[in-house]
Amino acid sequence: MFIRIFLMIMAVCMWVSPIMAEELTGKSIIEEQQKRHQSDNEFSDVALTLINRKGKEKNQNMVIYLLKKDGKSKTLIQYHAPANIRGVGLLTWEQDKKKEDDQWLYMSASRSTKRIAGGSKKNQFMGTDMAFEDMRPENTDVHEYTLIEESSIFSKKCWKIESIPTTKKEIKDSGYGKRIMWIDQSNYFTLKIDYFDHHDRHIKTSVFEDIRPMTGKLFRSFKVTWSRIRQKTHTVMIYKKIDLDTVHKVVTFTQNYMKRPVK
């Protein structure tokens, strides 16, 4: 009997020791998250519901293309509905860490494409509760991540991590002085983020639900809710489709592509 107990303890130690051997830090958790959940190609068909403080709803529909190449990502967001914003597009090319990302906004009504200045990334995107910076990939080089504690949320065991911008540029350009993230220990997926401004006021929350496995260890949330605290507004994003298999062409992420008529 004692031998059985001894062998059991040895088995547990062998299972736990690789994890314990590598010290768990906020940054290591985020990096593991990126390793697991980043995809080089992604297409999403998203239905958005914008809810104002009086409870009135507005519906929008957009598609999101993502391509990661040579370590940098390109993103195209195009609106398909409603009619007044159909064809409006936002194209983002990620640049090196020290450079500003390239961003263009295509206005279908005037058929004009304009570059967007970097200072606008804290602005809300097209009337939603998301800021432009919320739609960019997590940049671990300009943030410091601190593991605060192990916690529980939505009946799931989580790590609670604090993220603070560290560079002067990021502090200036970002609307967030701090973010608190709850990351599911079972799959390294983010379940909730609280956003704080530079005066440490809680300004926004995003909640990720309907999390489904896609391929391998990769997961995706099919419902995301953004809520701005002071304004009492919400944006609910329902992902009707997420495709990680189709390899997108580089031409999709060009200004010319944005000008093509949207069906």
């Binding site: 409603p82 005037s110 606008s120 009337g127």
Partner: protein, 456 residues
């Protein structure tokens, strides 16, 4: 009595809108099935309806028509054909109280705005590194906000000078995509001129400079007689051609473009035939001189600012008819999110400077002159300030000011997106300056206006 009649017309227009246009927009929004369900799958139909009403509260020098209503309805049908070819067709019905006449589908070279036309009709084929588009199309090569010297493919409808709109042109466009640049070549087999203001409309121009020169020479004011237009013949060897080389990756963070065009001036110039025996009659024919254009544009961002600029050298082939000149514009865009946050989501500023330098004047003794509606931005500041209250409502003011002649234009208006389908814009426009100046010649055209846009 006439003022009462005008008031009745305005009131009737507003009542008509209240009982038809606006309820229709809200009814469509609330409907679950929609009226296009049976066509959507095969044709992806869309419909845009635009209505413009303006009340000019001052009498003009010409035939007054103080209230003007105009608009258009444009449908869009998209169909995938075969071998990756897509057809987009935009039939349009124009309507207004003054200028609309007839039907012109592909080549809109008439003087009147057609009642029925194809705004665009394009066969497109999109490959990985090449795009081909054939048909009637509206292009946009501009980077500036107020005025674009390099956006030179399409003629413009300036029947209502302050509400310009591009006219689609039959063309063949080939866009080749390389790693660091794109090259677009556009062939224009048919000449389409600008649509000018009617010679009895509020926006017709007295050509102040020409008038002053005539008086100085002959001691009497001219009496201009419009003989008509001398359009270039549509011969194959006179086909216009434009090309644009653009890059966004050669220098990271910069959009650069070089533009070339050979063609005919869509605005035109006036040939003045003066017979000393029939003074003060001046027979005026609009001609469209051939020219080459070499242009350049850039756009970049730095910090919170977007910078842009355009310049174009207009090299006329026959300097008897027209001048050689460089026109240019530079500007910045800045959006602030921290001012008056209790009232506005953002405040956007646009400031530009537009100028023109004449490189070579017309030959001495030339009987040609510019149209009064041409080339007014010679030393101008152009700008706008937009106060965005929220995503649905904003207040905007825009202006043009000429430093040399001190003439100006000021617009103040409100844009409101009432629901997903209906947007209205209402405001006030004021033109001022000396009667001999470009904008001041229309200082009788101050107006209040209302525009409605319904999109399905």
């Amino acid at each position: 009595m006439s003022k009462c009649y005008k008031l009745i017309k305005i009131t009737s227009f507003l009542i008509l809108l209240s009982f038809t246009f606006i309820p229709m927009a809200f009814a469509v929004q609330d409907s679950e099935s929609g009226i296009w369900s049976s066509f959507q799958e095969s044709l992806s139909p869309r419909l845009d309806i635009n209505l413009r009403g303006a009340y000019y509260y001052k009498d003009s020098h010409f035939k007054p028509n103080d209230f003007h209503l105009s608009g258009n309805a444009t449908a869009q049908f998209t169909r995938d054909l075969f071998k990756g070819i897509v057809l987009n067709v935009y039939p349009r019905v124009n309507f207004d109280t003054l200028y609309t006449k007839g039907t012109r589908l592909l080549v809109e070279d008439g003087e009147d705005r057609p009642a029925f036309t194809l705004y665009e009709a394009i066969f497109s084929w999109y490959g990985d590194s090449i795009e081909i588009e054939v048909g009637k199309k509206v292009y946009s090569w501009k980077v500036a906000d107020g005025f674009s010297p390099v956006d030179i493919i399409n003629p413009v409808d300036i029947i209502e000078l302050m509400d310009p709109e591009k006219i689609g042109v039959p063309s063949i466009s080939i866009l080749k995509i390389f790693e660091h640049a794109n090259i677009q070549m556009v062939f224009l087999p048919f000449f389409v001129p600008d649509r000018q203001p009617d010679d009895q409309s509020r926006w017709t121009s007295d050509d102040p400079e020409g008038r002053a020169a005539f008086i100085s020479r002959f001691g009497v004011a001219p009496v201009n007689v419009d003989v008509g237009r001398a359009l270039p013949k549509d011969d194959f060897d006179k086909m216009a051609f434009a090309s644009r080389i653009s890059t966004s990756t050669l220098f990271t963070g910069w959009d650069l473009a070089f533009v070339y065009k050979y063609g005919y001036s869509t605005r035109g110039v006036i040939r003045n035939d003066i017979n000393p025996f029939t003074l003060p009659l001046v027979l005026q024919t609009t001609e469209y001189p051939a020219y080459n254009l070499y242009g350049f544009s850039f756009s970049t961002v730095s910090g919170d600012f977007e910078y842009h600029g355009e310049a174009a050298f207009h090299d006329t082939r026959d300097n008897v008819k027209d001048e050689d000149y460089i026109s240019y514009i530079v500007g910045i865009n800045y959006t602030n999110y921290d001012l008056f946050t209790n009232y506005f989501d953002e405040i956007r500023f646009v400031a530009e400077y537009a100028g023109e330098d004449i490189i070579k004047k017309r030959s001495a003794g030339s009987s040609f002159s510019d149209l009064g509606v041409s080339r007014g931005l010679t030393e101008n500041s152009i700008g706008s300030i937009e106060f965005k209250i929220n995503e649905d409502h904003s207040i905007k003011t825009s202006f043009i000011y000429n430093f040399a002649n001190e003439d100006s234009m000021l617009d103040m208006y409100v844009e409101s997106q009432l629901n997903d389908y209906l947007e209205i814009v209402y405001g006030y426009q004021r033109l001022s300056g000396d009667e001999a100046s470009f904008l001041g010649q229309w200082d009788r055209n101050d107006r209040v206006f209302l525009r409605m846009s319904l999109k399905f």
